[in-house]
């Protein structure tokens, strides 16, 4: 059943990607969506960036030791640049929200993913982590798996648009890292999310 869901999601994105390529030129590569058939899983390399673009801005602020807070890219100076901080820029939106017990990306978030995909394709040394999260309902380890499923759905969509698998890592925190501590449906809906964290 889950497999079908992913397929449907991928199919709808393929259609949208086809459209978006016409209006948004990106390094003039029309074949991006078609060329990505390999890279079946998540990148298994370490987190040491391979000469990442981020170091260009301020290498000292891009340290992620064991003490750092997870899923928090506020300290990344890249995020202060207009394309990431201007609320009118799609790159300023880095959270994808989900329905209850679902890992299907809703259509409204597809343009956001496309914007991030375009940026990542133009900056092939840039790396991101896709952090999957759930609301507090249900059991904790099941939610870890559900959060990963959400993050992997986003991973596959970005990959399909043209992002290298090696640029993306996936981690799931399940219900362990809520952004909203309330217990209403409103809080739940804000916690069911995948965060796109730039490294």
């Amino acid at each position: 059943m889950k497999f079908t869901t992913v397929l449907v999601a991928l199919f709808s994105v393929t259609l949208l990607v086809g459209c978006s390529h016409k209006k948004k030129t990106l390094s003039g590569d029309e074949n991006t969506a078609q060329t990505l058939t390999d890279g079946s899983g998540v990148d298994s390399s370490t987190y040491n960036a391979d000469g990442s673009l981020v170091t260009e801005y301020n290498p000292n602020n891009n340290q992620y030791g064991g003490e750092s807070q997870l899923g928090d890219d506020d300290n990344n100076p890249l995020m202060q640049r207009p394309e990431f901080s201007d609320p009118n820029s799609p790159l300023s939106k880095r959270v994808i929200y989900f329905e209850y017990d679902s890992s299907q990306v809703k259509n409204e978030f597809v343009p956001i993913l496309e914007a991030h995909a375009n940026y990542l394709m133009a900056n092939p040394n840039q790396r991101i982590t896709l952090e999957g999260n759930t609301d507090e309902r249900g059991t904790r380890e099941y939610n870890i798996a559900l959060g990963e499923q959400r993050a992997k759905t986003v991973f596959k969509m970005l990959q399909l648009i043209g992002v290298r698998a090696g640029q993306m890592d996936v981690v799931s925190y399940g219900e362990e890292k809520p952004v909203e501590l309330g217990h209403s449906e409103e809080s739940f809906s804000l916690n069911r999310r995948v965060e796109i964290v730039y490294r």
Binding site: M1, L70, E136, T139, Y142, I144, Y173, E176
Partner: protein, 435 residues
């Protein structure tokens, strides 16, 4: 009356506690509250202490609290006691009959160099007879545990079931220390929350503590290295080792009953499946092969079966599969639209789980022979059930107001007790096995 074996065991326990003292000491106070459902009345008279010495543990009060928490005893308030006997020849049954007491516990503590002898007598007021006399000998640091052992003996005589008062629990806490920073702790404590010691601390989530069958080690999941990783920590020494750090999920550790293997959830091959890790040689065997989420494995007491959560039928339900990989998985839950995190009772006859229905999550128990399921709690967000070693009580986590707390419920659903706690949210209780 004096059981030599028990005496030795308790002295050893004293050393054990000393071995923990190098670890971080918790500033936790956990207090169990809750109404008493009252069946038997019992009085526990303050124990006479050596030369009036003030002991670091009030034996009678600990025994009284232990029994009251079960929900099957109503304990007499000390202020109502007319006399305070400490020796059998001082007991006047009529006094206690007048106070409506069914049973009476008295005793004294004597000191012999650095050792304390705790002597207890249990009386049946109606029959006017002594039911039990017991003496345990401990160091000062283990007086509290000595009281729990006496509670176990009393409970077993009066109910026919072994007590769980001398057992221990593990649990995880999370505490918000600033807007974006949370502190996570893994605690080990007496069953009543006393002597809580943090055995692991992190700024990133800690999850899924699981006791080894001999109670000497705890496996848990930590995100301290930014990804999930399973550690095994030896309690006596504090030493720990990483046993699983594969790509993707490393979760839901569950020890095999003989302690040689561990069931894990890994997603290294694409999606969440159950794997069996042989601890001695690190060899890994994939148990489930579905394209759905498979997680939260639990072993049957004979080690032959694995119970797990899977959403292969679209919604999460519980399935059973042979641990050797032979044959398919059999779905065992059909009530409610969400059944997850199941685990077997020690006798293997029942399974406790989280059952979700109409948006509410409750603790439920299924009798495997009849396949009948009983819902034990009221929700709305109950989770992480764990059987006590005697199989009569279940500890779980629940939402109370805006707090996550621990609670217990008896297998018949009659007695429910909250475990109050200050300092953050409490979750994922795991009851240690009987040694």
């Amino acid at each position: 009356m004096i059981k030599l074996a028990k005496k030795i065991a308790l002295i050893f326990l004293g050393f054990n506690l000393m071995a923990y003292s190098h670890l971080l000491r918790a500033e936790l106070t956990i207090e169990i509250t809750g109404g008493v459902q009252s069946a038997h009345t019992i009085a526990a008279v303050p124990f006479a202490s050596p030369q009036g010495e003030r002991l670091n543990a009030d034996i009678a009060q600990i025994i009284g609290n232990d029994l009251a928490r079960t929900g099957y005893f109503k304990v007499l308030d000390e202020a109502q006691m007319l006399t305070r006997p400490s020796r059998p020849d001082q007991v006047k049954f009529r006094n206690w009959e007048a106070l409506g007491q069914d049973y009476l516990v008295i005793g004294d503590v004597t000191k012999d160099n650095n050792l304390y002898h705790v002597q207890m007598s249990l009386f049946d007021i109606y029959k006017k007879t002594q039911l039990k006399g017991l003496r345990v000998t401990v160091e000062a640091g283990a007086l509290r545990m000595a009281a729990h052992h006496l509670s176990d003996a009393i409970y077993e005589i009066l109910t026919g079931n072994p007590g769980v008062f001398a057992s221990r629990i593990a649990y995880v806490t999370s505490e918000l220390i600033s807007k974006k920073k949370t502190k996570y702790n893994l605690y080990v404590a007496d069953y009543d929350g006393a002597n809580a010691i943090s055995i692991a601390q992190s700024k990133s989530p800690i999850m899924s503590p699981a006791w080894s069958p001999n109670g000497g080690e705890i496996a848990y999941v930590s995100f301290e290295n930014k990804v999930s990783e399973i550690f095994v920590q030896t309690l006596a020494t504090g030493q720990r080792r990483s046993i699983a750090k594969y790509k993707g999920i490393n979760g839901a550790p569950a020890w095999s009953p003989d302690g040689t293997q561990m069931a894990l959830t890994l997603s290294k091959d694409g999606n969440s499946d159950i794997y069996i890790l042989t601890l001695a040689n690190k060899s890994l065997r994939k148990l489930t092969q579905s394209l759905a989420i498979d997680t939260e494995a639990s072993w049957s007491p004979d080690g032959k079966k694995i119970l797990f959560t899977s959403d292969r039928g679209r919604r999460p339900q519980l399935y059973v599969q042979a641990s050797n990989g032979q044959g398919g998985a059999e779905r065992i839950t059909f009530d409610g639209d969400y059944n997850a995190r199941g685990s077997f009772s020690a006798d293997g006859k029942s399974v406790v789980m989280v059952q979700g229905a109409q948006g509410s999550y409750r603790i439920a128990v299924q009798d495997l022979a009849s396949r009948s399921t009983t819902v034990l709690t009221n929700g709305p967000l109950d989770e992480s059930p764990s059987f006590a070693p005697n199989g009569k009580v279940i500890i779980y986590a629940r939402r109370k107001g805006n707090n996550d707390i621990l609670a217990t419920v008896t297998l018949d659903g009659v007695s429910k007790q909250d475990i109050q706690h200050t300092g953050g949210m409490v979750r994922e209780p795991a009851w240690a096995p009987r040694k």
